[in-house]
């Protein structure tokens, strides 16, 4: 991280350059969204540009490139859990789809047959001589 006055002044030029890059990349993101390149490619491109922008902010505005390795390890561990949190639910969807009935109702699809019906989950009150 910049400590002397000269280094800080040099950093200001870098900040302005990063600002310009972020502005251009924002325009590119919007322009890319209108391209007819397919849904998957469109999502990949938009998230790639967002990742580049995020890296610029973290590296220069947050001074991450000047920090020590110990912080990289902490944030790296954080990134591993983040990716796991994103991927694991998607990988489990086929097994737990029956838990998401409202979604199936929204899409008009039928939940898998092994899904527990309300009658099985909660027997009718009073069916066994309740008071």
């Amino acid at each position: 991280m910049a400590s002397s006055a000269e280094e800080v002044k040099r950093s200001i030029k870098t900040y302005m350059f990063v600002f310009g890059a972020l502005a251009v990349l924002t325009v590119v993101t919007v322009a890319a969204a209108s391209l007819k390149i397919g849904v998957a490619a469109g999502i990949a491109l938009a998230l790639l540009i967002a990742s580049v922008k995020g890296t610029l902010v973290a590296s220069y505005f947050m001074h991450l490139i000047h920090e020590r390795t110990v912080l990289y390890w902490i944030l790296g561990l954080c990134a591993v859990f983040f990716v796991a949190m994103i991927l694991l639910p998607v990988m489990q969807t086929s097994e737990t789809a029956h838990l998401m009935d409202p979604i199936y109702q929204a899409t008009g699809e039928t939940p898998p047959t092994h899904a527990p019906s309300p009658a099985h989950v909660a027997p009718a009150a009073g069916a066994h001589g309740g008071h």
Partner: protein, 203 residues
């Protein structure tokens, strides 16, 4: 026996030998790591819902790309003014530093005003609320949580701009450190929006 603040709380100004940074900054990075998990859980929910096809097809929702782009530019600009405020204080230019802090706070308020009046209020009058659809439920949840972070940032920046500025006269080095920590938080809020914008407005 008298003790100074530095003795009671070590490494408030000097870097810790293990982490290479003062303790306040390291604490803030740990806080940001927990924030990544918080927003990560919500992004995970978004991905899960999207994979299940619970959202309308692209283009069927009515979020304004124009407003989203303007708000993105506002937040990016506020990130620059925040880091320029820190640089100005480092260069011993408190007047310029306060000006950049004020600019950051004003840009943050502009973001919130646009979000509340041109988006939330407009949607509310159209009858679009969190219970309208799964898409709008998670849209309001994530952008609302992000908005609360903006409010928190405005309060902290406002504090260091006005009542907290007294520390500049008594302990300028610690004041600069606090501005740097505020900046770290603010850049994180900007970073979250950088991902929220394409996810909700463009994809």
């Amino acid at each position: 026996m008298s003790t100074t603040a530095t003795e009671v709380l070590p490494h408030t100004l000097t870097p810790h030998p293990v982490t290479g940074m003062y303790n306040g900054k390291f604490g803030l990075w740990l806080f940001l790591a927990s924030e990544i998990m918080l927003f990560g859980a919500l992004f995970s929910s978004y991905v899960l819902l999207r994979v299940h096809g619970a959202f309308p097809h692209h283009g069927e929702h009515s979020l304004s790309v124009k407003i989203g782009t303007i708000n993105t530019m506002i937040l990016i600009t506020s990130s620059v003014t925040m880091v320029l405020a820190w640089a100005a204080f480092k260069l011993n230019e408190p007047g310029k530093g306060r000006m950049f802090l004020a600019a950051t706070a004003l840009l943050a308020i502009a973001f919130l005003v646009i979000k509340l009046t041109l988006e939330y209020q407009h949607k509310y009058h159209e009858g679009i609320r969190p219970d309208t659809s799964t898409f709008y439920a998670i849209y309001y949840c994530m952008t609302g949580l992000h908005g609360l972070h903006i409010v928190g940032g405005v309060i902290v920046i406002g504090y260091f701009l006005l009542p907290g500025f007294g520390m500049w006269k008594t302990n300028p080095e610690q004041y600069i450190n606090r501005i740097e920590c505020t900046g770290l938080y603010w850049h994180f809020v900007d970073l979250v929006w950088i991902f929220l914008f394409p996810v909700f407005y463009l994809l």
